[in-house]
């Protein structure tokens, strides 16, 4: 009966309960933490009205809905928790509209960063990019409050407004959309910041069917520098200056082994011969401004005590292209050992040495080999509170189930340690990360749950992914 109704809504070819098709959505690379589970149905709606009808039907019948845009979230967020779930594959919704005048893009869930880049480039515009592969969904990434670490200067928030269908079929327009759907360009419209409340959530409020985001200017003038340091303190000093002066578009502090490979776009280099820590900088801008910034940055590099690294030009090209045009090579981190695990968090730059030390110490305690343990940091504009995204990474072989057990122990200990040390927040909420924080957050989580209850009283929206 369920399948029949789904087929009625979307057409014969777009709904199925076939075991093999369901299997293909049943696991992602986070499977040691979120075990494989098959949805009972997969449905691929073709427009928002079909999405709405599916939600109303699921809500009436209390069937769990798992929204899926491209499934590249690396946290098991589209793996169902409950028997009988409907996986809502939204990839057929892929309309995109660039508004050059407003410097915005309005996208549906199936639009990838690659498609957005291709279209925006026609107007000399670009998006703010995550390190996620450019096959990932733009809507989801912005809705999930991604971290756009390729270009620090863009800041943290690119989402202007969105349209969401909630389980009872009502359609919510956030920000200026609420008053006029043709004017979706302002984050704050009537009343509270509903977009703020409902974003960064793993499909647990409703389904976002359209989202408007900011685009930025593309400049032809670019230069990049890689500066090596043997100790983390000194490297942080350079990062601090860069972030405070707002001189560079991209500023990343990485170790010499992991993310640097993707930024350079090649496995073929003696990375281990480089200093332990590398600060990667990219400058761009209008001609005269670019020259001035470039000059100051070079002076600051000279004073930093770091070593300007002699990196092949093709590596620099890759870094510049992917920073301002979407990343393809960041996925090389999977090529290191086959899988990667990370704890992503926000915190002040001055804590970075301690985060790093703690990372190594906890990994050592649980028996994770030292050469599996890496990290990366980038400041976020504007730099109040020394806001940084910090990623504590472990690169491992996914088929090593013993190591996976150690990782679980690492997670448990490390999250507590980090909360004790002090962090601003985790990189987007999901079940594994909320649990250890609930007690500290006090009534906030209670309130959050109550709000959620109002919108999704029957708990059909991706249940189990938050709590």
């Amino acid at each position: 009966m369920i399948l029949e109704r789904l087929k009625e809504i979307v057409g014969e070819d777009y709904a199925t309960d076939d075991d093999a098709i369901c299997t293909s959505y049943s696991r992602d690379q986070h499977f040691h933490f979120v075990p494989k589970k098959k949805p009972a149905f997969v449905v691929r709606p073709g427009d928002r009205e079909e999405v709405r009808e599916i939600l109303i039907f699921a809500n009436e019948n209390r069937i769990p809905i798992v929204p899926w845009s491209t499934g590249i979230n690396v946290r098991g967020l589209t793996i169902p928790e409950f028997q009988g779930s409907i996986l809502l594959d939204l990839s057929r919704l892929n309309k995109i509209e660039i508004n050059e005048e407003m410097m915005t893009a309005t996208v549906e869930p199936g639009v990838t960063f690659a498609l957005l880049t291709q279209e925006a480039k026609k107007y000399n515009l670009r998006a703010a990019y995550p390190d996620a592969p450019l096959t990932a969904g733009v809507l989801t990434n912005n809705y999930l409050r991604g971290i756009y670490q390729t270009s620090v200067i863009d800041g943290h928030d690119h989402l202007l407004s969105f349209e969401m269908i909630i389980p009872n079929g009502e359609i919510i327009q956030t920000g200026s959309r609420a008053l006029n759907r043709d004017l979706p360009y302002f984050r704050y419209g009537l009343g509270p910041d509903i977009a703020g409340l409902m974003s960064a959530s793993p499909g647990t409020w409703g389904v976002v069917t359209e989202l408007t985001l900011k685009l930025y200017k593309l400049y032809e003038k670019r230069s990049s520098y890689f500066i090596g340091f043997e100790d983390v303190e000194k490297s942080i000093d350079l990062v601090r200056k860069m972030a405070r002066e707002e001189l560079v578009s991209s500023c990343r502090l990485v170790d010499n082994q992991s993310w640097l490979i993707g930024m350079c776009g090649s496995f073929e280099f003696e990375y281990d011969k480089l200093p332990n820590f590398v600060v990667c900088l990219l400058i761009d801008g209008l001609d005269g401004i670019f020259q001035a910034k470039d000059k100051i940055v070079r002076e600051l590099i000279e004073d930093s005590g770091g070593r300007l690294l002699d990196i092949p030009e093709s590596f620099k090209d890759n870094f510049e292209r992917e920073t301002l045009g979407g990343t393809e090579r960041s996925c090389m981190v999977f090529g290191i050992r086959g899988n990667y695990h990370c704890i992503g968090l926000y915190g002040p730059l001055k804590y970075v040495p301690e985060y790093y030390e703690l990372h190594r110490k906890t990994a050592r305690e649980v028996g994770i080999p030292e050469d599996y343990v890496y990290f990366y940091v980038n400041p976020i504009a504007r730099f109040h509170g020394q806001l940084c995204y910090v990623e504590l990474d472990i690169f491992y072989d996914g088929s090593d189930f013993d190591l996976a057990e150690k990782l679980k122990e690492y997670n448990k200990r490390q999250m507590k340690n980090l909360l004790d040390l002090g962090i601003y927040g985790w990189f987007r909420p999901y079940a594994g990360i909320i649990e250890p924080s609930i007690e500290r957050a006090g009534y906030l989580t209670e309130l959050w749950k109550r709000f959620n209850e109002v919108v999704d009283p029957k708990h059909i929206m991706n249940p189990g992914k938050l709590w």
């Binding site: 075991d19 093999a20 098709i21 299997t23 293909s24 690379q29 594959d89 393809e328 090389m332 999977f334």
Partner: protein, 365 residues
């Protein structure tokens, strides 16, 4: 491959889907690369989905269904996904090989498509994939053997005729097996390893008897099968374009004055790494322009891996996509594989489609 090895490979898949598009930078244009995924849409029809299904099969955690068979057999085994993956995420499995192995497992379980059963029957009866009465050539001289293959023998005959004419014009002494059977490629690609054995044994005997030292193929599928599935014969194996390139300095070729674009056959390009020889030759006789998807990132014509015989609509769609791309670049599309030509020609909507040897034969003064 051992089950454990395959599973370890599958665990490396990050589900990043980079294998579904051509390299984005530096061109910054989006082109899909997986025909079956683009056509059918569900995750199951892209490489990461297929890997998950293979895991399900190995773990005995999947139910047989028509859809499952469609997923297993609608992959053209083009290998485009692997070219992309091996550069970045490095899943340590050659996907066209592994998806072929998935079919071998399917065959063991009795999961065989009706269309493929018909094909097997035809080959059993006639020893060729088209069920035709065997045609014979009387060519019995020399160290060089031209292995004709089923498609240029029974469907795209201009290719074998051009090849023979070309060899004659160049005074090359060559033989053609009087009793050449299907090389077995068609069966092997659909997982029918046992069925292919007799064909292979027969051809080996014939080749040994011929005393040939070099075998030349116009069909990259046959060539790949000889290289991959036949035992070492101590005979040199060459594709027609390699053979022609070798003769190059002695060839007097005129420029035909036509604009062409070249379609890389999957077997020749991605599977055997032969990209440059056809281009070298074509650049001497025509004005060659590249399509955006070329070499390692070429879009498959849609016919390989038993797809044309089982999923005609999908196979034709895939060819039409290629024709559309080619039309934007040149008037004439050239390939170096009879099976590609067959499918592209059937869906060409008036576009001229040739094999390299046809044009070389025309250009020989």
């Amino acid at each position: 491959m051992e089950k454990e090895e395959v599973l370890n490979g599958i665990y490396r898949c990050a589900k990043c889907k980079l294998c579904t598009i051509t390299s984005f930078h530096p061109r910054e244009e989006l082109f899909p690369i997986c025909p079956s995924g683009e056509y059918y849409g569900f995750q199951a029809f892209y490489a990461p989905g297929r890997l998950e299904i293979l895991k399900g099969i190995l773990d005995d955690d999947i139910e047989e269904s028509d859809e499952l068979l469609k997923i297993i057999y609608s992959c053209t085994l083009c290998g485009a996904c692997y070219e992309k993956c091996k550069e970045i995420t490095k899943v340590d499995l050659n996907f066209s090989e592994i998806f072929e192995e998935m079919r071998e497992i399917a065959v063991e379980k009795g999961w065989v498509l009706d269309a493929h059963k018909d094909l097997i029957e035809k080959i059993r009866e006639t020893h060729n994939a088209y069920g035709e009465v065997q045609s014979r050539y009387q060519r019995k001289e020399g160290d060089i053997l031209y292995f004709v293959g089923c498609t240029s023998r029974y469907r795209e005959k201009e290719i074998s005729e051009s090849m023979i004419e070309l060899l004659d014009k160049l005074n090359v002494n060559f033989q053609i097996l009087e009793d050449e059977w299907c090389c077995g490629s068609t069966l092997l690609r659909i997982g029918q390893v046992e069925e292919a054995k007799e064909l292979i044994e027969h051809n080996i005997d014939e080749i040994k008897r011929s005393g040939a030292k070099t075998i030349v193929f116009t069909c990259p599928g046959c060539l790949m099968t000889f290289k991959k599935n036949y035992p070492q014969l101590n005979v040199e194996l060459l594709h027609s374009t390699q053979f022609i390139e070798r003769l190059n300095p002695n060839l007097r070729l005129k420029n035909l004055g036509i604009g062409v674009t070249y379609h890389d056959p999957c077997h020749l390009g991605r599977h055997l790494g032969i990209y440059e020889e056809p281009r070298e030759i074509l650049s001497k006789i025509a004005n060659i322009k590249e399509m955006k998807r070329n070499r390692e990132q070429s879009w498959c014509c849609g016919s390989g891996g038993g797809v044309r015989s089982a999923f005609e609509e999908f196979s034709s769609w895939s060819a039409r996509e290629r024709i559309k791309e080619a039309r934007g670049v040149a008037d004439t599309l050239v390939s170096a594989c009879p099976f590609c030509k067959h499918n592209l020609n059937d869906n060409s909507d008036g576009m001229k489609v040739y094999d390299v040897v046809e044009l070389v034969n025309r250009a020989l003064e």
